[in-house]
């Protein structure tokens, strides 16, 4: 019943999509105040913003609106993982605002209703280039972090399969290769985001790093991470240990685990790395990839796996490919199957309007013509409501 009431109230602004703001801004502002059911601060907040900063409370009425994350939280929750351009925007605007969009709301709905006893469900966010897949993932991560889940966030799996300067033979398994630099970077960021968990979770077996160094059973996981950071040679193995421990302990129910991987198609694609004899390295010969693949399989319960496909960083894939079966390949698709696909597309009229107003408000669009109606139509046409394109164009103005 509440939903239908909300739906009725929502009818008004959705009528003339795109033009309602210009027609009756004041009326809409007052309506927005009533709708939000929250008394705004001294000055009325604009229509494209919402005060609700907890993703748990985001609902359909917030669709198209921006919510801001305090910068302190951003440093903790997203040490890595936000797109580079978004980070630059954060620095410029001195605030980080995410738009609430339908795919994210859908995903949050599923996450809210996860049954922790069942095996972890895999969600694959896909869509064309620049439509907001990574941002949707970040929204989900923020929600989980607020809900006190353990977030295992791999910002870009493609980084692990290309441009590696040091490729060492793994000490654990002669056939595999280690990537110390990438592993240590990841461990550092992982520590920043999940510090409190690392103290609580204990190892369940002893790990021998070398003749003299080892981690006993029952030591906090933080020690393993420290070991990986100090002895960079063992970093990849440390990562493997962390993943294994988390997977083993999550079904016990002490914590809920979210595995968030951006660009999961890297795990089953090709690499640009070469062995000493110039033959190509396949992804399963990399320790990090091998361990991550085990993580993504749904033989554990007590959490969820959210992944994105990404063509941008992918290797040997055409630019027009965006569907799961194109980017994952047969092997990847079979491994991930069954999964819940979540499609992200370009901005709708309302979302575009919201983004446009946000840029205007932040004085990002400096050109005089950008403020006019024709300028808005021009932006709409040139970007075709693609978020990435719109952001790039606005940067020039």
């Amino acid at each position: 019943m509440l939903r239908s009431v909300k739906g009725v109230i929502c009818q008004g602004p959705k009528l003339d999509s795109g033009y309602f703001l210009h027609a009756s801004a004041r009326a809409w502002l007052s309506a927005a105040v009533n709708q939000d059911a929250q008394i705004p601060a001294e000055k009325p907040r604009a229509v494209f913003r919402t005060n609700e900063s907890n993703p748990a409370n985001h609902a359909e009425q917030h669709e198209g609106q921006h919510y801001s994350i305090p910068l302190q939280e951003v440093k903790v929750v997203f040490p890595h993982g936000l797109p580079y351009r978004f980070q630059m925007q954060m620095k410029t605007f001195n605030e980080s605002c995410l738009m609430v969009r339908k795919p994210a709301l859908e995903l949050l709905g599923y996450l809210k209703s996860t049954n922790l006893a069942h095996p972890a469900i895999r969600y694959v966010i896909y869509g064309e280039k620049g439509t907001g897949k990574t941002m949707t993932l970040c929204h989900a991560i923020h929600y989980c972090a607020k809900q006190d889940w353990l977030v295992l966030h791999i910002p870009d799996a493609h980084v692990w399969v290309k441009n590696c300067r040091e490729l060492m033979q793994s000490s654990y398994n002669k056939e595999r290769f280690d990537q110390p630099l990438e592993a240590s970077t990841w461990l550092k960021n992982f520590k920043t985001s999940n510090d409190h968990f690392l103290k609580e979770i204990k190892t369940q077996q002893t790990y021998m790093w070398s003749k003299r160094e080892s981690t006993e059973k029952g030591r906090p996981l933080g020690e393993v991470v420290e070991q990986g950071l100090t002895r960079v040679k063992n970093a990849s193995d440390a990562v493997g240990v962390v993943l294994k421990e988390l997977k083993q302990q999550c079904p016990l129910g002490a914590f809920r685990l979210l595995v968030a991987v951006d660009g999961i198609n890297a795990l089953w694609g090709q690499t640009t790395l070469r062995k000493k004899d110039k033959s190509a390295v396949s992804p399963e010969e990399l320790t990090l990839v091998h361990n991550l693949r085990k993580m993504v399989v749904n033989d554990w319960n007590g959490g969820a796996i959210v992944t994105t496909l990404s063509q941008t960083g992918s290797l040997f894939k055409p630019r027009s490919a965006y569907l799961p079966h194109e980017l994952l390949g047969k092997e990847g698709f079979d491994t991930l199957d069954p999964f819940i696909p979540i499609r992200v597309s370009n901005y709708s009229q309302r979302e575009f309007e919201s983004c446009y107003q946000y840029y205007l408000d932040r004085k990002w669009l400096q050109h005089d013509r950008a403020r006019t109606e024709e300028g808005r139509k021009e932006l709409l046409f040139l970007s075709n409501s693609n978020p990435w394109q719109l952001e790039r164009i606005s940067a020039y103005l």
Binding site: E128, R319, S320, E374, K377, E378, L380, F381, L382, S383, N384, N386, Q389, I393
Partner: protein, 379 residues
């Protein structure tokens, strides 16, 4: 004395005749008698302008007419009704040429069109010039000014006459100058067979303008129109197709466009939302470069119809920039059906409806590219 003068004259005439027919011995002996160096000099100057004599030109004309009749016979046409167009066609048929430059192909035209107009010798046997203004240096020009001024005075006299009779008000005859322009300097030079300076030309035109402002200049209309050239009327070749309606009743219109080697055809639908599909792909994916999308946007933005039409187009050939240009032309042509005549005119003036004629320039032998020459080495 007179006999000596006559002998001198005969010598000079004979000398110039000797240039053409060296076998006349009588002329030679005559020349030796008198001092002819000055005469020689003047004769050289005289023969300068006249490269083709009148007799020569007449000869050429007779040959041309005979040749025309022969040609008509060859082609099986009637020699009496053989026009210049038929001559051109026959020559193009008998002498096919693959040369790109039209002026280098074989032609058969009337000698007056081929040989440049030139001045006949301006003085007579007694070396006195025919024209009274010869010694001004620009005799034709000054005589023309003199004539025009004479006509002006005539018109004024006529006006006074009418004014005296009191009939001036009714008898105003003006020359209709609409649709024509004054001859340009080059055309006037061609008419007078004489070089003019810019100042001279402007003087002439001012005088003509002054003549035209008089109320009764209609009496000299024929003379003045000799100096006017008709402006080519711009043929409105643009035929605007009417709108077509598809199954759902949505109006649509098609247009074709080309640029360099690209060919595009666009279908513009009414009641749309600004969606554009190129070769089955969204235009954002097909044209990642913003410049191309701006080209697509141009016709719609110009008519202020950005979010109102949908478009489906196909394009082939060329590169990304030329494909964008071809689609732009096609969409502009398709949009003509949706808009008023005035807007079509605005589009035409903005250059949206004109096909870009530029094509790739051919590479020439002896050069590395169309314009680039090989590296010049001093030694």
């Amino acid at each position: 004395m007179a006999a000596a003068v006559r002998r001198v004259l005969r010598a000079s005439r004979g000398w110039s005749a000797a240039l053409r027919a060296p076998e006349a011995p009588r002329a030679q002996t005559l020349r030796l008698i008198c001092t002819t160096t000055a005469v020689q000099k003047r004769n050289i100057a005289a023969s300068g302008p006249e490269k083709y004599t009148e007799a020569f030109i007449k000869n050429q004309i007779e040959e041309f007419n005979l040749g025309k009749r022969h040609l008509a016979n060859m082609m099986g046409e009637d020699p009496e009704t053989f026009t210049q167009e038929d001559v051109d066609k026959a020559i193009a048929y008998l002498f096919p040429s693959g040369l790109f430059e039209k002026r280098a192909r074989p032609i058969m035209k009337h000698p007056t069109e081929i040989f440049p107009k030139q001045r006949a010798i301006q003085w007579g046997e007694d070396h006195r010039p025919f024209h009274f203004l010869f010694y001004t240096g620009k005799q034709s020009f000054y005589s023309l000014m003199h004539d025009i001024y004479g006509k002006l005075l005539d018109i004024q006299k006529y006006q006074d006459h009418l004014r005296g009779q009191g009939l001036l008000a009714e008898n105003r005859k003006q020359i209709n100058l609409i649709g024509s322009r004054w001859l340009i300097k080059e055309e006037l030079e061609e008419m007078l067979v004489e070089k003019l300076s810019d100042h001279d030309y402007s003087m002439c035109i001012q005088l003509l303008e002054r003549l035209v402002t008089l109320p009764c200049c209609g009496i000299e209309e024929e003379y003045v129109l000799k100096f006017r050239k008709e402006l080519a009327i711009q043929l409105k070749k643009v035929v605007i197709e009417p709108l077509q309606y598809d199954d759902q009743g949505v109006a649509f219109s098609t247009g074709e466009g080309k640029r360099k080697t690209s060919r595009a055809s666009a279908v513009v639908y009414d009641n749309g939302s600004g969606k554009i599909t190129v070769n089955g792909v969204d235009y954002l994916c097909y044209f990642p470069v913003m410049q191309d999308r701006e080209q697509l946007m141009f016709p719609f933005q110009f008519l202020d119809r950005l979010g109102k039409h949908d478009m489906v187009c196909t394009v082939s050939g060329g590169g990304r920039s030329s494909q964008a240009g071809a689609i732009r032309l096609a969409s502009a042509r398709a949009l003509c059906s949706f808009i008023t005549e005035n807007e079509v005119e605005f589009m035409r003036q903005a250059g949206l409806l004109t096909a870009d004629p530029r094509i790739r320039e051919r590479k020439k032998p002896g050069q590395e590219g169309a314009r680039r020459k090989f590296t010049w080495k001093k030694r």
